[in-house]
C-alpha cells in the first residue's frame, strides 16, 4: 500500500474539522475526496502535507509514519500538493516557475553558485531539462516566457499542476484542480490529470465537479462534517443515501 491515514483527527478549538478519518490509496489509483463545503477536505490535505499538525492519528507513506515532518520534508519524500486557490509564483515566468519546482531534487548551494562548480551546473541543466519536459507535457509552450500573473486562469491551473509535477512526486494531492474553469469548452485539464496517472503517479484529488469525479476516479471518499460517510466506486457512492442526504439535505434520499 502506497499511502494510508488512520484515525486522523483535527480539533480547531471546539470545532472538529476532521474526525477519526481513515482511508488508503493504492499505487496508480486516482482517489477523490468529495463533500459539501466545510466538510474538512482541504484540512485533510493540510494535515497530510504537514502544514497543520493533527490532534490525533497517523499518516503512512511508503510504510513510514510522516506525521511531524515539515511540509518541505514531506515534499522531498514524494508527496506534493497543490492549493485550492491557484498558487504559482506570479511574478516569475511560466518557465521559471517550472525550473524552481525541481529544485528539491538538487543539492548545490551558494558556494557552488558563486564558483559555478561542475555540480551546480549539472544541477541547473537538470532543472532546465525538467522544466522543458513539463512545459511540453502540460501544453504551455506558447506561454513559456510570459509572467505567470498575466496568463489565463486555466493556464495558471495547468501551471500549478506542472510546478507540482516538476518535483517528481509519487503521490500528487490536487485541491480542486478544475476550480473556476469551464470544462464544457475545454477538458484538457482532465486529460492532463489522466495522463499524469498514466505516467505512474498516484493521485488524490479534492473536487466539486461531479463530472470530473465520476469520470476519472477509481474510488471516492465522501466527507461530511469531518467524518467519512461513504467510500467506494463512484457509481456506488453516488447512489448512497447518506451521500445524497449530505449534499441535498434530509428527505431527498427517499425520492
Amino acid at each position: 500500500m502506497l499511502f494510508k491515514v488512520t484515525g486522523l483527527t483535527k480539533n480547531f478549538g471546539g470545532l472538529v474539522a476532521v474526525d477519526d478519518l481513515s482511508f488508503h490509496i493504492e499505487q496508480g489509483e486516482i482517489v477523490s475526496i468529495i463533500g459539501p463545503n466545510g466538510a474538512g477536505k482541504s484540512t485533510v490535505f493540510n494535515l497530510i502535507t504537514g502544514f497543520v499538525r493533527p490532534t490525533k492519528g497517523s499518516v503512512w507513506f511508503n510504510g513510514e509514519e510522516i506525521v511531524g515532518d515539515r511540509p518541505f520534508g514531506i515534499a522531498k519524500k514524494g508527496i506534493t500538493r497543490t492549493f485550492q486557490s491557484t498558487t504559482v509564483f506570479i511574478q516569475d515566468t511560466v518557465f521559471d516557475n517550472l525550473v524552481v519546482g525541481h529544485r528539491l531534487r538538487t543539492r548545490s548551494g551558494i558556494f557552488g553558485a558563486v564558483l559555478r562548480s561542475a555540480g551546480a551546473r549539472a544541477d541547473e541543466r537538470r532543472c532546465l531539462a525538467k522544466a522543458e519536459e513539463i512545459l511540453d507535457f502540460i501544453g504551455l509552450t506558447p506561454f513559456r516566457d510570459r509572467i505567470a500573473a498575466n496568463i489565463p486562469q486555466e493556464a495558471q491551473k495547468k501551471l500549478s499542476l506542472g510546478v507540482a509535477l516538476a518535483t517528481e512526486p509519487s503521490l500528487l494531492l490536487l485541491d480542486e484542480p478544475t476550480g473556476g474553469v469551464n470544462l464544457e469548452e475545454d477538458d484538457s485539464l482532465i486529460r492532463i490529470i489522466q495522463r499524469i496517472r498514466d505516467s505512474g503517479i498516484t493521485i488524490c484529488l479534492i473536487e466539486h465537479k461531479m463530472k470530473v469525479v465520476m469520470g476519472i476516479s477509481n474510488r471516492v471518499v465522501v466527507l461530511n462534517y469531518g467524518k467519512k460517510i461513504a467510500e467506494g466506486a463512484p457509481e456506488t457512492v453516488s447512489r448512497d443515501e447518506r451521500v445524497i442526504e449530505a449534499y441535498l439535505g434530509p428527505g431527498y434520499a427517499a425520492a
Partner: protein, 325 residues
C-alpha cells in the same frame, strides 16, 4: 532578438569603463571622497538587496552589521595591532556570525514582525557599542585606524594605498567582487530558491524548499558583505563612533536600495553612486535636505516602487511594445 542582448552588455561596460577611468579626469580630493564613500555604500546596499530585494525579508538591522564590521576591523587593528587585511576578513566573518545568531530567532518571524525585530536588534547593538566603554571607547570613539597595509609584489615592488586613487581602486574592486558574488547567486538555482521564498513561502514549502534555511543563507551572506563595507569604512575614515552602527545608517542604505531599484543588480549601486552627490549638492538647504530626501523616497515608493532601474526597464518595455504594435 540581438538588440536587447547588446544593450544588456553595453550599459554595464560603459559604466565599468567610466568607473575605472575616474582618475583620468577627477583631481579634487573632495570628489574622490564622495566616490570612495559611494563604493562603500554600494557594497552595503548590494548586500542589503540580497536579503531584501531578492529574498523579500525587510532587514532593518543592516546598520548594525555595518557597525559590527567597522568595529571589528577598528578594534583588531588598534588594540591588537592586527594587519588590515586579516582585520577586514574578520569584519566579514564576525558580521556573518552575528547574522547567523540573529537570523536564527528573527527569521522565524515574518513580514513586519521581522522588520521590527531586526530594528530592535539594531538599536541594541548601538547601545552596547556606546556603553561598553572598556572595549569600544564609547562616545570617545576609536581614533587613528590605519589604511590598508601595502601588498608586497615580487622584485621589491609593492602596492601601497596612500593615495586617494589607490584607495578608490581598492574599494571599487571589492564592490565589483561583491557584485560578482551576488550576480552569480542571483543567476543560480540558489537564487531561484531565494526568489521562490520571496514569492510564496507556502508554495515553496510544498515544493520541498525549506524557507527558513533559505532565508538564513541569504541573511548570513548579506551580513557578511555588510561587514565588508563596515571594515572598509573603518580603515578609510580612520575614526569610528557608535553612530556608525545606528539605524540611520540602515535607513541611508535602505534609501539607496529603494531609489536605485530594489531587486535589481544595478539599482543599489546606482542609488549609492548618485544619491550622495545629490545630497551634497543640496547642502545649501541644510536641515531641509533630509526633508527633500524624505519626499523623494515617498514619491518613489508610491509612483516608482521598483526604483530608477525598475522604472527604466518599464519605460523600455513600453517603448518596445509600442514599436512592435
Amino acid at each position: 532578438m540581438k538588440k536587447p542582448d547588446q544593450l544588456k552588455y553595453l550599459i554595464p561596460s560603459i559604466l565599468l569603463l567610466a568607473a575605472f577611468s575616474v582618475p583620468l579626469f577627477v583631481t579634487s580630493r573632495y570628489i574622490y571622497h564622495l566616490l570612495i564613500m559611494s563604493t562603500i555604500w554600494g557594497i552595503a546596499a548590494t548586500a542589503m538587496n540580497l536579503i531584501m530585494g531578492f529574498t523579500g525579508q525587510v532587514n532593518l538591522a543592516h546598520g548594525a552589521f555595518f557597525g559590527i564590521g567597522a568595529y571589528t576591523t577598528g578594534l583588531l587593528m588598534l588594540k591588537l595591532g592586527v594587519n588590515f587585511w586579516p582585520a577586514l576578513l574578520a569584519a566579514c566573518v564576525v558580521a556573518a556570525i552575528f547574522g547567523f545568531l540573529i537570523g536564527l530567532p528573527s527569521l522565524r518571524t515574518k513580514g513586519s514582525y521581522f522588520a521590527i525585530g531586526t530594528l530592535c536588534f539594531n538599536v541594541i547593538v548601538t547601545v552596547i557599542i556606546d556603553r561598553w566603554d572598556t572595549l569600544t571607547e564609547g562616545q570617545r570613539g576609536l581614533m587613528g585606524i590605519e589604511g590598508p597595509a601595502p601588498i608586497p609584489l615580487p622584485f621589491g615592488y609593492r602596492i601601497t594605498f596612500d593615495s586617494m586613487t589607490a584607495t578608490y581602486y581598492l574599494n571599487l574592486i571589492l564592490l565589483l567582487f561583491t557584485l560578482f558574488v551576488v550576480y552569480r547567486i542571483v543567476h543560480s538555482l540558489a537564487g531561484r530558491t531565494f526568489r521562490a521564498v520571496r514569492g510564496n513561502e507556502d508554495l515553496s514549502s510544498s515544493l520541498g524548499i525549506n524557507p527558513f534555511r533559505t532565508k538564513l543563507i541569504s541573511f548570513v551572506t548579506s551580513t557578511f558583505f555588510a561587514g565588508l563595507a563596515g571594515g572598509l569604512y573603518a580603515s578609510y575614515i580612520g575614526f569610528l563612533s557608535p553612530e556608525i552602527s545606528d539605524f540611520h545608517v540602515t535607513f541611508e542604505v535602505l534609501i539607496y536600495v529603494m531609489i536605485g531599484g530594489i531587486g535589481t543588480l544595478a539599482g543599489p549601486i546606482i542609488g549609492a553612486a548618485i544619491l550622495p552627490f545629490i545630497s551634497e549638492s543640496l547642502h545649501a538647504l541644510a536641515a531641509y535636505r533630509m526633508v527633500a530626501y524624505g519626499v523623494l523616497l515617498v514619491v518613489f515608493i508610491i509612483f516608482i516602487p521598483s526604483g530608477m532601474v525598475g522604472g527604466f526597464k518599464l519605460v523600455r518595455a513600453k517603448l518596445r511594445a509600442t514599436k512592435k504594435g
